[in-house]
Symmetry: C2
Subunit: 227 residues, 2 copies
């Protein structure tokens, strides 16, 4: 029997530079960011599990009804931190392969979802990433940083679920944290494969990212209209 794949979407963050309420509920072209992410993932996975603030569980369920087509979607309450939320999500599914994806990255291409799934199956862990194209400097003194030695991490990050759970248990016991789940897996000594991302997969963080996202949503809608 084929291994099952679950998409895990942590969307429990409260803080937002985009206005009141959780960022994942901010509308983009009339549809919450969270719904964009779920629609992009659902066709390629066996189920979607979303974590939202406990108070938003009802609203999220209503928003997501119908967003995933025939793919089952469930909502769970998030934890106190992103890390805790992802661990809860990984415990809420029985799928062998999980894809953890930021709700704030609405433009997720099918090819990237499939490449991340394949890489997680083959290597146990993978992260989508892109080269850094801007010059980077230290904020303190303006000193140069060699950007060619760095990658900018996007999502999804894909894992064998047992490996992700082991990494989270290890981090919890050690009291360590990482800004991404692949970092926790690496702390176990496991390898993480790279999957090429895209400029469109940018994270919507502030109002100017949201404006750019509205523009790209318009392009996608026009392309759909032609299709």
């Amino acid at each position: 029997m084929a291994e099952r794949v679950a998409a895990l979407v942590p969307a429990a963050g409260q803080g937002t530079r985009l206005g009141l309420g959780p960022k994942a509920f901010v509308p983009l072209a009339g549809r919450p960011l969270l719904v964009w992410a779920v629609r992009a993932l659902a066709p390629w996975v066996d189920e979607v599990v979303v974590a939202v603030p406990e108070a938003a569980l009802g609203e999220a369920a209503a928003l997501l009804a119908g967003a995933a087509g025939t793919t089952p979607v469930r909502c769970v309450a998030g934890g106190a931190t992103r890390q805790e939320t992802v661990e809860r999500l990984a415990l809420a599914t029985e799928a062998e392969i999980v894809l953890v994806h930021d709700a704030a990255r609405p433009f997720l291409d099918a090819a990237i979802v499939r490449a991340a799934t394949a890489a997680a199956r083959k290597h146990g862990a993978c992260s989508v990433a892109v080269a850094v194209t801007d010059t980077l400097v230290r904020a303190s003194d303006g000193g140069a940083v060699d950007r060619s030695a760095l990658l900018a991490v996007q999502t999804p990050q894909g894992f064998r679920r047992e490996l992700l759970l082991r990494a989270h248990a290890h981090a919890r016991a050690a009291g360590t944290s990482a800004t991404d789940d692949a970092g926790l897996v690496r702390a176990l000594g496991a390898e993480v494969a790279w999957v090429p991302g895209s400029a469109q997969l940018f994270k919507v963080t502030g109002p100017d990212d949201l404006a750019l996202a509205e523009a790209w949503a318009g392009t996608l809608a026009a392309a759909d209209g032609r299709g």
Copy 2:
């Protein structure tokens, strides 16, 4: 008498991931990237000086005729490296204040041009920059890098021209280089002020950046139509 301001646009790079020919000549919404940059700068400066490959001088002059309104525009041949090209540009004007701007950043807001000009006057040197929002890791081993300590450098970078020339002469004599001009000024021990950039000011490097740029150009055109 008020200090004069020149915009310097190095566009002599030959290599491109966007197809044949210099990147600055790649069309965006029917208009070369270089023309976008010059149109954004021209209303706020006393002259614009552009550096292109020697073989493209005629073509560039034709493209830029009329692009800058009543602001004078001149084209000069670029050097063998970006650094050499910027030094040539700084020698090709007599303006006291210069703004060095990448031709590959088409969406330059008037407020940012004016802020960079004011900061260059006041502090002698400035660079537009934004916070890093993606998690950064080392490509070699996936190790975490503290993004909160870093800034992503955009352009324009603004300078008192004599300071920029001194920095370039110093770098040339020492055989050093930097990926941005502010880095050369810092190597003299001079301070560089920060001016907040924007997500729209992204650099068009590959085909997916260009697609995003086409979308944003469409949004700007629609906003103009409403105006």
